[in-house]
Amino acid sequence: MNTFLRSRYNRYNLIAGGLLLIIGFVWIYPFLWVLFASFKTSSEMFSAGAKLLPETWDFGNFYRAWTKANFNIYFFNTLLYAASATAIELVKSSMCGYVLGRYRFPGRTLILGLITATLFIPIAAIILPQFQLVRSLGLLNTRPGVILALSGGAGALYVLLFTGFFQPLPDELFESARLDGANFVQTFRLMLPLAKPIIATVVIFQFMRTWNEFNIPLVFTLGRPELRNMAVGMYAFRGEYSVDWTGFAAGTTMSIIPVLIVFFIFQGYFVRGLSGAVKQ
């Protein structure tokens, strides 16, 4: 037997790796199908069946989606919504989680209980009251309105993650900061960088969620198509352009590739952040 196969783990890898490649291919097949469909002509897309590779590579779908179907505007909107909602989410949940984890004060148990309880309620009919709230603020059909709605509803889980992180930090840490003369805000700014894994988790989760959010942008931008994000814009592809499926595929490809890259790069932080959180 050669040296390569003598190692138990190398043998494991050959079996597991082969198996994972097959399962992974089946798993990713719908993605590949969309990816390649975005290079096909629409007649080929419907006649090709399961075949992946296009006969002729057609880049017109991307061009059409980007310019004619306003994907350039949608892309900008999506980026703006996702970035601002993530930033707001990070600021408010880290502040709230820090205080909940660090201090004991009247109302703390109530707040924690409320946050935990709402995690387990299947919220089905919540969007109309949200809609009315944004409308009464005069922010309907505006970008700030969408951002507000996107960052308003989420966050309960993130607060719990931050609370769980700050709670078990040793008292000496805070005590030494106090002895150094750091005030409340300065102490917070000293401690926040310690929560890097949680920050990464919140950024990835919230960025992905808002990047793909469908319901909120749909309902909050009904009157102004130029405020749509890509998910809603893609859905509208069906109506306005008499079901341009290959354009739809090109749009889907454009909108998911950036998020996949973010995940591929940051997945290590992601898992570490969550595991730090579930320890509690």
Binding site: V91, V99, R104, F120, P122, V159, A231, F248, I256
Partner: protein, 327 residues
Amino acid sequence: MTAQMTTPQKRKLSRAEKRKRKKTAVPYSKRVRGKDYFWVYLFLSPFLILYLGFTVWPLIATVIYSFFEWDGIKPLEDFIGLGNFFTIAQDPLFWLAFRNTLMFAVINTMIKIPLSLLAAIFLTRKWLWGKRFFRTIFFAPLVLPVAMAGLIFSLLLHPANGAINDILVSLHIVSKPIDFLGDERLALLSLIFVSVWQIFGQYMIYWMAALQNVPEDLYEAAELDGANEWKKLIYVTLPVIKPVAVIIIFLAFVNALRVFGLVVTMTGGGPGFQTYVVPYFIYTQALVDFPFRYGYASAAAVLFGVTVLMAVMIQGYFVRRSDENPN
């Protein structure tokens, strides 16, 4: 009355105190002093204001609307008390949707939880090559908006020229194409599979996080005792992650109850009413079927939400009790 009110609180307090005493003595530094009170409540306020506006208020508003005959547009005037609830108790479509939703959530959870745990165990093995690559593959469907996943699968599952039927027929697994979404028995099952595919990565990540907290020396000790991989899983991994597992399973179940986007884009509740689910029922009652019945839809949401919350709390109670008195 007061005695009843204070007993549960007292019990909770004493449990919290026990926990505190076990960890440290009185946490002096955790007390808020002087003008720090101002900062504490200032730090809480951004989250709390948005939370009250976008989560708590909508929940309360839904309860209020449920007592009115209301189309969502006119002023809120026709108070009818429990009228909506009486009507809904006799609405066969609601109960069909209720049954479908529960079936969807239960089967969905039963499939995705063990599978994602298995994937997480595999993809956290130290010896495995290409972990990042495979993780990204299983995670990928999650970056697809649910509505887009639904549209893509309605193409892939199409009986006339869909890719999946093309594969099944050419491999001679079936003799003629299957109408996955048009068949009364298959439609809900198809939705379940698409939903598992779509959400799988999220639970895989949760499990991977849970697995990271199993101390390495436990495995080493088990190995010294001659345990194989399977025994390590049964006797080391699963008992250690059990408390987190309970939370993950509950979250999985409750999230599955929110199924909506797939139904809208893939079946529209059909064929017949075989894939009608409660969120879809609420949506059509409130915003699609004319005349709009927003009050009625709110009553459906309240009834459904309360039922689920109670089920979760009862299960949670039993799980906790079995934790506190083993055997």
